[in-house]
Amino acid sequence: MTVFGIPLPAILGQLTLGLVNGSFYALLSLGLAVIFGLLGIVNFAHGAFYMLGAFAAYLGLQAFGVNYWFALILAPLAVGILGVIIERLFLRRLYGQDPLYGLLLTFGVALIAEGIMRDQFGSSGKSYPVPGLLRGVVDLGFMVLPIYRGWVVLASLSICATTWFLIERTRLGATLRAATENARLVQAFGINVPLMVTLTYGAGVALAALAGVLAAPVVQVSPLMGSSLVIVVFAVVVIGGMGSIVGAIVSGLALGLIEGLTKVIYPEASNIVVFVIMAVVLIFRPAGLFGRE
């Protein structure tokens, strides 16, 4: 059986891989959407934090023997603290200004982080082993899937769901959303809004680092691993609607799938298809698929 002249098993295989990539996109764009939605900051350093998460896992393993499972908690924590420091020292001063300033600042932070890591570890990067428990492959019938990639999908989907639930369905989330609508009023209720904002930024950064740890065993841990990804992730967020959490998750997964199909149909276009879709979406729905006009 064939679809568009391509055998069905090949299509299914590519869709599965697209789901894996889509999971990374979803996880990364989730963090971006949280930061933009609640702080109004266009966090261009997101790719760098993703990279730092992967390096934190690598360094933890090399220097202290921290295994993958602990790295999943410790690396996001460490990078999240770095995010908190950056928010306290710099970003804080830019609230209420043109979003361009935040974008420039975080872009600068990304360049500095990449430069330091390149100086320390070189551009070809480091290898991080797949954790013992998740080695091997499963035969899905139409393709052989490494167990680790399956785990990535599961882990990222559950993190996305949890984050969505926290922000959209809990009291904490309601307070957060209220604070972004009217910070002064929320503060009047005795809630420490600046602290909440700082922690939100830290949490968004930690999500990026977590994606980095998840990616470490499948891609080369290199200083530039984030810079190529962050642009795609921005496109995903724009397509989903800036600041929309559901939009980020859904469009992340969907674009992963579409990109996967492009890789079979016309591979040369695989790195621009996301941007073509972004352009089309912006023409018909300037606020994104799930954004509020």
Partner: protein, 400 residues
């Protein structure tokens, strides 16, 4: 029109001044425009600069009583940046020779400047054989390796060893496609067959889709027609998906820095072709030791070539008694090259430096006895076998 002639007059005056910039007392200016920050920065990058500086220091820091100065710039893998920086240095800084490359696209753009400005350009990191073919100039030399030699090494050893059917994963730009074409010629000439190829954009991180297509083709050999992080990410994913068990991966270009970063665990058994390896003999080990003391890693073939090319250029300047580009080029083309990089190498009429190449196999972790003990020599390929004794007829310099 008036403005245009004024500009032309200015340009003429400028040329007179820059032509005079070779007088005694002025420094001899060597430039290096290379990838200092991108995917190829580990293969040459800072290490290349360090090697060139070592060569200048070993030469005594001056030639013909003139101080030797090294200028460096990052081309960021963008042809326009490389070419405009080269032009700027040639016009304003009295540049006498340019080293560089690490990206065929950028090197082709810079070779055009070399031809126009009459400044010798020694291309090192780039692989594209067209640099001494259709893109050749009287002032360019292709020094370390080219796509023809890589294909004649790795592809021919594998085809002759029984790997008859191939599938390529190719970096989608000049270097990748030239490498794939060269390898295709070698494979088909030896009775092999190409079952397919996929062009992946430069800097792709996820190769799993492409690998799945390669696997579906049923080919015996997975030809990796890419380099740098593209190479490491594609090889890593191939190992992860278990494809290295059913297909034999062939690295059409891998540097020792790449093998170091993917580790022997992943790279073991891989065939590759290199111009140089630090552990070949006492002389290469000595250079490796000096380089390691500074950079904390063994030099790649490109970095050794940086040392060699800088030294040979300075020797040629000394022998010619001048930095005049034509005299120096003539000197470089008639002198045999004997140093730690190669023995009995020579620059062919089209600008290609013909020298021995080595087909290597990556050791298993058990075979590796000490740090950076990564390769065993499978075959030493004389320069004529690697690149052919005859210059490329596509080069306009070659009289037909």
């Amino acid at each position: 029109m008036k403005n245009a002639s004024a500009a032309a007059a200015l340009a003429a005056i400028w040329t007179i001044f820059s032509a005079q910039a070779g007088a005694a007392g002025d420094p001899v200016v060597i430039g290096d425009i290379d990838d200092l920050s991108g995917v190829y920065a580990d293969a040459s990058g800072q290490g290349g600069i360090e090697a060139a500086n070592m060569a200048i220091a070993d030469f005594g820091g001056s030639v013909l009583g003139r101080k030797i100065v090294l200028m460096t710039a990052d081309h960021q893998n963008k042809p326009d940046i490389g070419a405009s920086k080269f032009r700027e240095w040639a016009d304003q800084n009295g540049l006498n020779m340019l080293l560089g490359g690490s990206n065929t696209g950028v090197s082709i753009a810079m070779a055009k400047v070399a031809g126009a400005k009459k400044v010798p350009f020694i291309a090192i990191g780039a692989g594209g054989a067209s640099l001494t073919g259709v893109d050749c100039t009287a002032y360019s030399i292709h020094y370390a390796y080219d796509t023809t030699a890589l294909a004649n090494g790795t592809a021919s050893v594998i085809v002759k060893g029984g790997g008859k059917t191939w599938y390529f994963i190719t970096a989608d730009y000049a270097f990748g496609t030239q490498l794939q074409e060269a390898a295709t010629r070698v494979v088909t000439a030896n009775g092999g067959k190409i079952l397919g190829a996929v062009r992946a954009p430069l800097g792709t991180t996820d190769y799993s889709s492409f690998l799945l297509q390669a696997q579906a083709s049923g080919a015996q050999v997975l030809g990796l027609s890419n380099a740098g992080t593209d190479f490491s990410n594609s090889l890593k994913a191939a190992a992860e998906f278990g494809i290295t068990k059913t297909m034999k991966p062939a690295a059409l270009l891998a540097f020792i820095s790449d093998i170091h970063s993917v580790t022997l665990e992943t790279a073991q058994g891989l065939y590759l072709t290199t111009a140089w390896y630090w552990d070949l003999n006492a002389e290469t080990r000595e250079f490796g030791k000096r380089f390691f003391a500074k950079m904390k890693k063994e030099p790649t073939m490109d970095q050794a070539a940086y040392y060699s090319a800088t030294t040979q250029y300075l020797k040629a300047v000394q022998a010619a008694g001048s930095t005049d580009p034509d005299k120096v080029m003539a000197e470089l083309k008639k002198t045999r090259i004997n140093d730690l990089f190669t023995k009995n190498g020579y620059v062919r009429a089209d600008g290609l430096m013909v020298h021995d190449m080595y087909v290597m196999q990556v050791k298993t972790p058990a075979e590796s006895k000490y740090p950076w003990d990564y390769y065993k020599v499978i075959k030493i390929m004389p320069g004529e076998e690697a690149d052919g004794a005859q210059p490329d007829p596509a080069c306009a310099l070659i009289k037909k």
